[in-house]
Amino acid sequence: MSIKIDVKKKYKDFSLDASIESNARHIGIMGRSGSGKSLLLKCISGIVKPDEGFISIYGRELFDSRKGINIKTAERKTGYLFQNYALFPAMSVRGNIMCVLSGSGEQKRAEAEMLIEKFGLKGLEKHLPSQLSGGEQQRCALARMMASKPDVILLDEPFSALDEDMRDDVMRELKAMLSDYKGIIITVSHRREEIYAMSDEVITLEKGAVCDIKTIKDGDR
């Protein structure tokens, strides 16, 4: 299994109790608002600690309450794309990417240039996040995320901050940009068409529990 999750988490008056095992590389988690989708992503990334259970990705145990394992968020290698992209507002596009990279100054600059080129940010390097459009902000957040070389990418409602008429284009762009990514991509959304376009397997969450798992064939898209 590429991903094995079985977690329980009580959060305010909500209770998440989800069990997922999947071999798919592109997993979609669908559910209404308040169904626990984002909470599940936060458990995977380590932002929220589950009350009990385990999370393993490609056999690497990120969390196991019985064994006392709880890898720090910074060491989990999970790229998290927030709905609002969470770009660092005081840093330029280049600064947002460079601050994640390690190595010598020259290595960092070269790698940042490569990511700027790949994610279509040429000419925007010196712009602050507030000077970018929604699509540009998303590309910048993705470039920054790829700079951290994650094992798994978590996309939390990746198109919700975009205008309706931009979504299809950005979705196509996003798929193209992530086409050579070898890790697992977990997309969370309440929109069926987004989940079907982005995933090979769709997991439906309802009131914090998995209620359906479906493999997507090309005809379903």
Partner: protein
């Protein structure tokens, strides 16, 4: 006018320099201590945060003379802590310039801490979460993400801290005393010259403090307006 000119030409400006020197040293200490404690309390659970916050803010609520009394108890060379510092390291706070800095630091620290914490509370928490998922260390997150994103709040906190530190009187007089040229700050000088009935001397020092205070407020206003300034 001639009398004022004569007074100015023969004036000892050491209280101004001692106040500025004390203010700068105390502000540097309070800046780092305030930011780190605010950062640490942001990571605490609600109940513990309320208790820690109460303790850290205490010097702002207590009368400065009460804080000064506690400092005197701690740093007196006849007491365990003060005695240990003096015997082991030769550090003496009572009736020294170091005492001025410690008193100003203790009294002004809550301003830095509370302003930094308020600025941190306004920050989008997802920026911190994202930085963690990107593998950044907590230290790097604080100085590369949090501080630049809350710069105006932290900067106005720093200026207010400096203002409080240079104006400190109660705790300073208790711990450092009022030794001319050594621990005599502007605030202490004003109190002393009024006791002597020298109203012109007091007026000159009040004018100097007034000019400094005005520039501090001006700097705070410029920082808080930032680039976004809309005229109604």
């Amino acid at each position: 006018m001639t009398e004022l000119a004569n007074r100015l030409s023969g004036m000892d400006f050491s209280p101004l320099f001692i106040s500025l020197k004390t203010g700068i040293a105390a502000t540097i200490l309070a800046f780092f201590a305030g930011i780190y404690t605010a950062w640490l309390t942001m990571r605490e659970k609600r109940g513990l945060r309320a208790v820690t916050d109460g303790i850290l803010t205490l010097p702002m609520i207590l009368p400065p003379t009460a804080s000064g009394f506690i400092l005197l108890l701690v740093f007196s060379t006849r007491r365990p802590v003060g005695g240990f510092l003096y015997d082991s390291f030769g550090i003496k706070a009572v009736q020294t310039w170091l005492g001025c800095v410690i008193a100003a630091f203790v009294i002004s620290f809550p301003l830095m801490y509370r302003n930094a914490r308020s600025a941190f509370e306004q920050l989008d928490i997802n920026l911190v979460y994202t930085a963690r998922t990107l593998g950044m260390s907590e230290h790097k997150i604080l100085w590369r993400v949090v501080i630049p994103s809350t710069a105006s709040g932290v900067a106005s906190g720093t200026v207010l801290t400096f203002a409080r530190a240079i104006g400190e009187y109660g705790a300073t007089s208790m711990l450092a005393g009022n030794i001319a040229g050594k621990t005599g700050t502007i605030s202490q000088k004003i109190a002393m010259v009024i006791q002597d009935g020298d109203y012109i001397g007091a007026g000159i020092w009040v004018a100097i403090v007034g000019v400094i205070a005005f520039f501090i407020i001006l700097i705070i206003n410029i920082i808080s307006m930032g680039k976004k300034y809309d005229k109604w």
